[in-house]
């Protein structure tokens, strides 16, 4: 048993700064991708509720395709595939875009469920007091949707955080890639990958716990 922990004592001081830097990179990647996913997801949600059938169709197809295509395939396509037809992304850009494109669909679906959870009577009462539809949405519907949707959004962020590890497979310098590099250098895959796991856990778990605290029970 002590044999397992020994390398941490020997190399801990070397590993720690590497892992900390890598964790920051992972965090930066995840936050950027999530921000973009929120924007795209919002646009997608508007398409889903658009009066134009074309946009609704587009949104439905988009969500289905994203549900069926692995993130890894999207990342490979963006980073390795597109240069074949002349579009070149750097690794970080491809990772941010790929993650955002895939998670935008989840964001849109969350918003859809959130809107569905608001009883129709809420908007009716708003219209009845003389609010315009825009005022009704801004003052009455949106605040309630935001409350309902906050917890699932955090869960989605944690998902994205975990999936950011796939960016290592398109050479993005983040936690998983750093782990791999360290494992090959020190020949201690078990200890190093466990340390990597601990780093991911350290940033993911607080958010998971937070989302549980914030969960709004269904009425």
């Amino acid at each position: 048993m002590t044999g397992f922990f020994a390398p941490y004592g020997d190399y801990g001081s070397e590993w720690l700064p590497l892992l900390v830097k890598a964790t920051f990179n992972t965090a930066a990647l995840s936050v950027s991708a999530f921000a973009l996913a929120l924007v795209l997801g919002l646009l997608l949600s508007l398409c889903q509720r658009s009066p134009f059938a074309v946009l609704r169709r587009f949104a439905a197809v988009y969500v289905t395709v994203v549900r069926g295509v692995p993130l890894l395939a999207v990342l490979f396509l963006l980073y390795f595939g597109l240069p074949g037809i002349g579009i070149v992304f750097d690794a970080f850009g491809a990772a941010v875009l790929g993650l955002a494109l895939c998670f935008a669909a989840q964001v849109a679906e969350l918003l859809r469920a959130g809107l569905k959870a608001i009883p129709a009577g809420q908007a009716e009462a708003a219209l009845a007091v003389g609010f315009t539809p825009a005022q009704s949405f801004r003052l009455i519907i949106l605040p309630q949707v935001a409350r309902v949707v906050l917890s699932p959004m955090i869960v989605t962020f944690v998902s994205l955080l975990k999936d950011s590890s796939l960016a290592s497979l398109i050479t993005v310098d983040e936690l998983a890639l750093t782990g791999r590099a360290m494992a090959t250098e020190y020949f201690l895959p078990l200890q190093i990958y466990v340390a990597v796991g601990v780093c991911y856990f350290a940033i993911a778990w607080p958010f998971s716990a937070l989302s549980r605290r914030l969960a709004v029970p269904a009425r």
Binding site: P119, G121, Q122, E124, A125, A126, L127, A128, V129, G130, F131, T132, P133, A134, Q135, L139, I140, P143, Q144, R147
Partner: protein
């Protein structure tokens, strides 16, 4: 005296199903009208057509002479309807208070956002309206903490804060536990005594008899009988009215 509200030829269909088959009535200023009838008779639909929450398939509705819901031959959008709706206060069966706002905010927000009152004036107005419905002691509470009767009274205050020309009540006590019905009916009595114009869809036939000036009995989408409240309810002439009232009594 010219009517405050006039309804002519009101029809409403949902696809092939015709729910309102030609409704005509007028409401004078200060008059209380009760709409009674069996489920499915169209009375709620009729009420909801007044502020165009349901869009009529045909007919004309005029408030103070102004045509509601239709401009230049075309049905108005929700945005265009907002000012007209603001003139009518609606109270819903399920209250529909906004849970993310306090009681006072629920009552004040429309005054601020629709009529442009200052925050201070809107709040004062809200507290006045809450006093009318005897709910000032819960002014800062969340709607989720209130009983059904309390929520409905706040909903009435919210509608009153619009300073509406007309109050519309859609089965205001149907969703309440029996012991909570009285407090809401009492508030409505007080409003009636003030001289407000009210249209009330209700199952509370005794209440309708005592409060309303006129009663309209709807069945199958048409007004089967209409007349002074006491007359229609205590001595109905039409056999369908008689049959309905008999069922309710038991």
């Amino acid at each position: 005296m010219t009517a405050l509200l006039s309804v002519a030829g009101l029809r409403k269909s949902y696809g092939p199903v015709e729910v309102l088959k030609g409704i005509d009535f007028d409401v004078a200023p200060g008059e209380k009208i009760a709409l009674i009838g069996p489920s499915g008779s169209g009375k709620s639909t009729c009420l909801r057509c007044m502020n165009f929450l349901e869009k009529p398939s045909a007919g004309e509705i005029r408030l103070d002479g102004e045509r509601i819901g239709v401009r230049e031959g075309r049905v108005m959008s929700d945005r265009q309807l907002a000012p007209q709706r603001a003139e009518m206060g609606m109270v819903f069966q399920l209250f529909n208070l906004w849970p993310h706002l306090s009681v006072t905010e629920n009552v004040a927000i429309a005054a601020r956002k629709v009529r442009g009152l200052s925050a201070r004036d809107a709040r004062d107005l809200a507290l006045d309206m809450l006093a009318k419905v005897h709910m000032t002691h819960r002014a800062e509470a969340s709607p989720l903490e209130l009983s059904g009767g309390q929520q409905q009274r706040v909903a009435i205050a919210r509608a009153l804060a619009q300073k509406p020309k007309l109050m519309l009540f859609d089965e205001p006590t149907s969703a309440l536990d029996p012991e909570l019905v009285h407090e809401v009916l009492k508030v409505m009595e007080e409003l009636a005594a003030e001289g407000r114009t009210m249209i009330i869809v209700t199952h509370e036939v005794a209440f309708a008899r005592d409060i309303a000036d006129r009663v309209l009995f709807l069945d199958g989408g048409t007004i089967v009988e209409a007349g002074p409240a006491r007359d229609v309810i205590t001595a109905p002439r039409e056999p369908r009215t008689q049959a309905f009232l008999k069922k309710i009594r038991h």
